[in-house]
Symmetry: C2
Subunit: 305 residues, 2 copies
């Protein structure tokens, strides 16, 4: 099944485009979860923590996005934990978008594709999608396409990122268009060539909630492309900032929140009510809050009717 | 110790800038090495094969470059093998440049830096350097700097890559300069700010042997920056193509060869003489051949005097 259609089915089933980012950090884990500071114990704690998050959010959201960096930070032991987290999320019915921002050329890109793309036994890591960086050009992106088609998987290509320094290269203007628009054109071309039954293709774009004007521009320039929107919450993006990223059906965008949900027990709004002891209650409350905010401020609210 | 000085010491000690790429592929392993096709057996075979390559090249070259993608292709078991390969290379006195082309922002980039950068116990993976993609801008590159400084490590930023499609975005012209020159300017600025005792900084640039004119241009535009040159051999780059990348001392560039060395037993020139049975002899012959070619055609020949 076409990845765009799989994603749309999941978003419709949960009636929300909220994506929960799994970014474990040792210093933010609920009190008592980290039993020792060595790397193997920390990796095990990441796995336990992420399973706990998944248990809470699986009934509420369509997908999770593990951040590979925080697992790789623990060396091979962290990679083993990452593999377990992906399997567990899939077993709970969640789509998994691996945030690896991988990129390379030719057969090396093909190796990354075969590593990550495809649920269950279709790939060793078992993810449904992977984030991909575009600097290396088309022969760094096309190798991901065939594996994606064969395995019902997809990719999200970095287009306009949420960070303050993202503009340094992405905003450089060539031939009257900023670089990110050149990347957007190419991504839209690939998506238009891989359409599912709902008018979207299997190549998505990463575009930050911190640049709402560019979200509107990209929605118009990429009518067949799903947007993955980071930068919500901790980075300053709001539900209203995301509104322009959706189509009139409430489709076309998933909005990620990592720290604001998984470490909600540390946020002022939840610390007193939940704290470390009831950290999963905080995760649930923060998830429901974000679902409601997006439903109120964007066309994603139509998913509920 | 400053990474540029560590690299220079290694290049001078071995009197060559040859970098051996560790890109294991199941279908190219010497006959009999892969005892079963399951993922754990393949990962073990990759480790055995790479140890065998390292045993041959450790006395001959300054550094190896493991390609993370081929290990990640085997899932967590491959990551465990990659960790072992890095440790083994370091134990044999080789510098290790991890080819991961990682990139992300802020604390996530910091996590990648802490994952990979620093030999021995300084990081979980124990590499001396990491390749980094620049699309996300300066706050995706600067987080790697402090860890590099603290751990005697370095990074190589993608500037002008060796693949045919690399030009799609890298050659777009903004403000009278192609994108790769904008990236080059930024990299040179970082390198000039982190100089060691030999006039080079700890932020290098990846620039392909398949674009010799651009190598000359980049050498001039980046006088304080080491170049990591892929594309030699299998991709078509020759020793003469690399000549302009070196300074008058024979420093300033390392030239990578992966398939042409590690799978030399399959090359026409070596198949009959060595074959699978004496594959390590083919690795040695191919390494020595490339060392001689670079010494003859570039200023790297001065390293021998």
């Amino acid at each position: 099944m076409n990845f765009a259609d799989r994603l749309i089915a999941a978003v419709r089933a949960k009636q929300t485009p909220v994506l929960v980012g799994l970014d474990p950090r040792a210093e933010s884990l609920p009190a008592g979860m980290l039993t020792a500071k060595d790397i193997v114990s920390t990796a095990k704690a990441y796995e336990v923590f992420c399973r706990g998050v998944i248990d809470v959010v699986a009934p509420l959201v369509p997908a999770v996005k593990p951040q590979a960096a925080f697992f790789e930070q623990l060396g091979p032991a962290g990679c083993v934990a990452l593999g377990e987290v992906v399997r567990y999320a899939a077993s709970k019915g969640l789509l998994v978008i691996m945030d690896g921002k991988r990129n390379d050329i030719g057969t090396t890109a093909q190796a990354y594709a075969e590593a990550y793309l495809g649920p269950g036994d279709l790939s060793p890591w078992g993810a449904d999608a992977l984030t991909v960086s575009p600097y290396l050009g088309e022969d760094s992106i096309t190798p991901f396409l065939q594996t994606s088609k064969d395995h019902g998987a997809g990719i999200f290509v970095l287009v306009k990122t949420s960070n303050p320094g993202g503009g340094r290269f992405q905003d450089l203007v060539a031939d009257d268009l900023p670089l990110y628009r050149h990347v957007a054109q190419y991504v839209e071309q690939l998506s238009a060539a891989t359409l599912g039954e709902n008018g979207y293709g299997i190549v998505g774009a990463v575009a930050g909630a911190t640049y709402p004007q560019q979200l509107a521009e990209l929605r118009a320039a990429m009518p067949h492309t799903w947007l993955l929107i980071p930068g919500y919450g901790a980075q300053g993006g709001t539900a209203a900032d995301c509104a322009a990223a959706f189509d009139e059906r409430g489709l076309g965008a998933v909005v990620n929140n990592s720290r604001g949900i998984i470490f909600a027990h540390q946020r002022d709004a939840y610390r007193e009510k939940f704290g470390s002891a009831r950290w999963q209650g905080a995760v649930e409350a923060a998830t429901r809050e974000m679902i409601d905010q997006l439903a109120a401020a964007t066309s994603a609210g139509k998913l509920r009717s």
